[in-house]
Amino acid sequence: MSPAKSRESTRQAGELPERERAAIRAEIGRERLLAMYRQMVLIRRFEERAEVLSGQFREGTRIKKIAGFLHLYIGQEAVQTGFRAHLDPARDATVTTYRCHGLALLVGIPPNELMAELFGKVTGNVRGKGGSMHFFSKEKLMLGGHGIVGGQIPIGTGAAFSAKYRKTGGVSVTFMGDGAVPQGTFHESLNMAGLWKLPAIYVVENNQYAMGTSCHRGVAVESIAAAKAPGYDMPSFTYDGLDLLASWKTAGQAVAAARGGQPVLVEAKTYRFRGHSASDAGLYRSKEEVDAYKKLDPIQRTRADIAAANWADDAAFDAVESEVAEIIAAAVAFADTSADPPSSDLSRHVYAEAAP
């Protein structure tokens, strides 16, 4: 048995000094940083559009094409964007919660498919069977999109087990909210990962609230990753999840550790700019608090970073916006003109169709 000492390498949240930012930017390089920026913009605009189409957001008329829950990732984009950049789509698996639009776009599921899924169409990502909470990709090893808080953590652990079993050299990244930390599955999974040295990365996206319950009313300790990782013989990382550079940097370290057979627990301090889901009035947090965080918008900060490096001008940023706008318009059109699932789909896929 390995000794219980924790190879702690906690990084606290806090704005990185400009010198460090420049260094990270250089490491990332122009193309990759622009690509990540574009990904974040795509997620943001996709969700803003979905929000309107869910009809909860009033802009004159009430448009309702999307039903059910709609949990938006807006504000948190830097976290998964930073991680995804370090993953090898052929062998690294990812899994997340119902707040899954961002990850689905990041792994490269076509926006058409995703929008059609939100519309409940047969052309949707899962044939209209899942809706907003259940995006998946077999090809890209994105294992969901899960509705039960904490339910995806063992699944991510299984993907890490699988990578080790099949000796692919792959890792798994399991995203979860701060609200999932108290669930038994968190503990059970991290213990197995720590025990068996699975190539697993657990990322707590601490957006400080689980619905209306602020993190300090749900979790007994202030610093989740730092306080808990030693209990699973894991190192921990804690960083400013509203900062793409910090996210990219930390993700790189975490992925490297996991790839080397050391599971890790990461805490990204972040914030959601919208309500928990579209129906949440959000009375549990003040306008001041929300506004203060909005000033730390990861997209704006990344834009500032890019500008600081002189890697793009306003026209270039505008071009990103219009390219993304076109993608989304096309996705909406695609979804709108797609067919409902046939009623034969009702009983299809309850069981597997054929042995592989």
Partner: protein
């Protein structure tokens, strides 16, 4: 003949409700004079909690978002203000933990009410419900009864798909030691919840999100409804429809349509699934000779299966046709609107089943 007293106050059609116009304290109904008040089902539950918490200090309410947020569906609105944070307690997302905590509290003199934000999340707490709550009284030779009410919305919500749409009546009524209550109206909900809070067994109290806004005139004066006593929601002679919770409303809708076609349906609402008022069902079937069970559980091993089996045992010679079962179809709930519609036991499917039963 079934005594008229079994007929509950008439249902009042649900009308769209605006949360903001509900009183700050969810427990306070709108007085209507003549001893009646207007209450939504949501408020009926809140009022029952409020009244019983005043009456009995041992009762506390615990669950995710029940206190500061006033409940994810605002069912516990105002309770925190009225009873304070010692008795109305927000929990971490840790259903197995707080369900077990409630069992321990019930063993040491308290009378916990726990809210599952939805019964889907009770699956995480399944072991504490089954291995501990349901068995404790028996396995301690009666030493430790468990006065525990577990409540929350059950069945399909609005387009929330696979993992959020279970109806658990059949699941939990399989286990001896549990009581399963599934009210369809504000009147029933209030009276049954008060009963649940005054007895000593673990109760699964199953609400329905889609009915929270459903309103009814109910008495201001206190009343309780005993477990195991079903209710006729409509009288009729051709076919008995046994319907549970939200399905009562679909059954009434179907009965309305069928009446126009000359088929007269009796709608029996068992109100509690365990214990089950099989006498009332048998009585009705003796009269009609036909029975359709409508529920949101899956077909295999649903409540309809149990009712069919019991009817066979108790009314073998009275049945003119097999018991028809209109249930959630045998698939996880799909998100797409058309598929969701076909999955649920809605009026069109009930009508078809009644006609099938009557065609025999």
């Amino acid at each position: 003949m079934i005594p008229a007293s079994r007929l509950a106050p008439p249902l009042r059609a649900s009308r769209p409700i605006n949360l903001k116009t509900e009183p700050i304290n969810g427990a306070k109904g709108i007085p209507l004079g003549n001893g009646q008040q207007l209450l939504s089902l949501r408020m009926a539950i809140c009022q029952a909690l409020d009244e019983e918490m005043r009456r009995d200090e041992r009762i506390f309410v615990m669950g995710e978002e029940v206190a500061q947020y006033n409940g994810a569906y605002k069912v516990t609105k105002g309770l925190l203000d009225s009873f304070g944070p010692d008795r109305v307690i927000d929990t971490p997302i840790t259903e197995n933990g707080f369900a077990g905590l409630a069992v321990g509290a019930a063993m040491t003199g308290l009378r916990p009410v726990i809210e599952f934000m939805s019964w889907n999340f009770s699956f995480v707490a399944f072991d504490q419900i089954v291995s501990n709550a349901s068995k404790m009284c028996y396995m301690t030779g009666g030493m430790f009864p468990i006065p525990l009410v577990m409540r929350g919305p059950n069945g399909a919500g609005p387009r929330v798909s696979s993992q959020h749409s279970h109806a658990v009546e059949a699941l939990y009524s399989h286990f001896p030691g549990l009581i399963v209550v599934s009210p369809s109206t504000p009147y029933d909900a209030k009276g049954l919840l008060k009963t649940a809070l005054r007895q000593d067994n673990p109760v699964c109290f199953l609400e329905n999100e889609m009915l929270y806004g459903h309103e009814q005139d109910i008495p201001v004066a206190e009343y309780l409804i005993p477990f195991g006593v079903g209710d006729l929601k409509r009288e009729g002679g051709d076919c008995t429809i046994v319907a549970i919770n939200r399905c009562v409303h679909w059954a009434l809708e179907a009965a309305e349509t069928l009446a126009k076609e000359g088929i007269s349906c009796e709608v029996v609402d068992p109100r509690t699934i365990k214990p089950l008022d099989i006498e009332l069902i048998v009585e009705s079937v003796r009269k009609t000779g036909r029975c359709v069970v409508v529920e949101e559980c899956y077909r295999t091993g649903g409540v309809g299966a149990e009712i069919a089996a019991q009817l066979m045992e108790l009314a073998f010679d009275d049945l003119d046709a097999p018991v028809e079962r209109v249930t959630t179809t045998e698939n996880p709930m799909p998100y797409a609107e058309n598929l969701e519609h076909e999955t649920l036991p809605k009026p069109h499917r009930i009508i078809a089943a009644v006609k099938k039963a009557c065609s025999r």
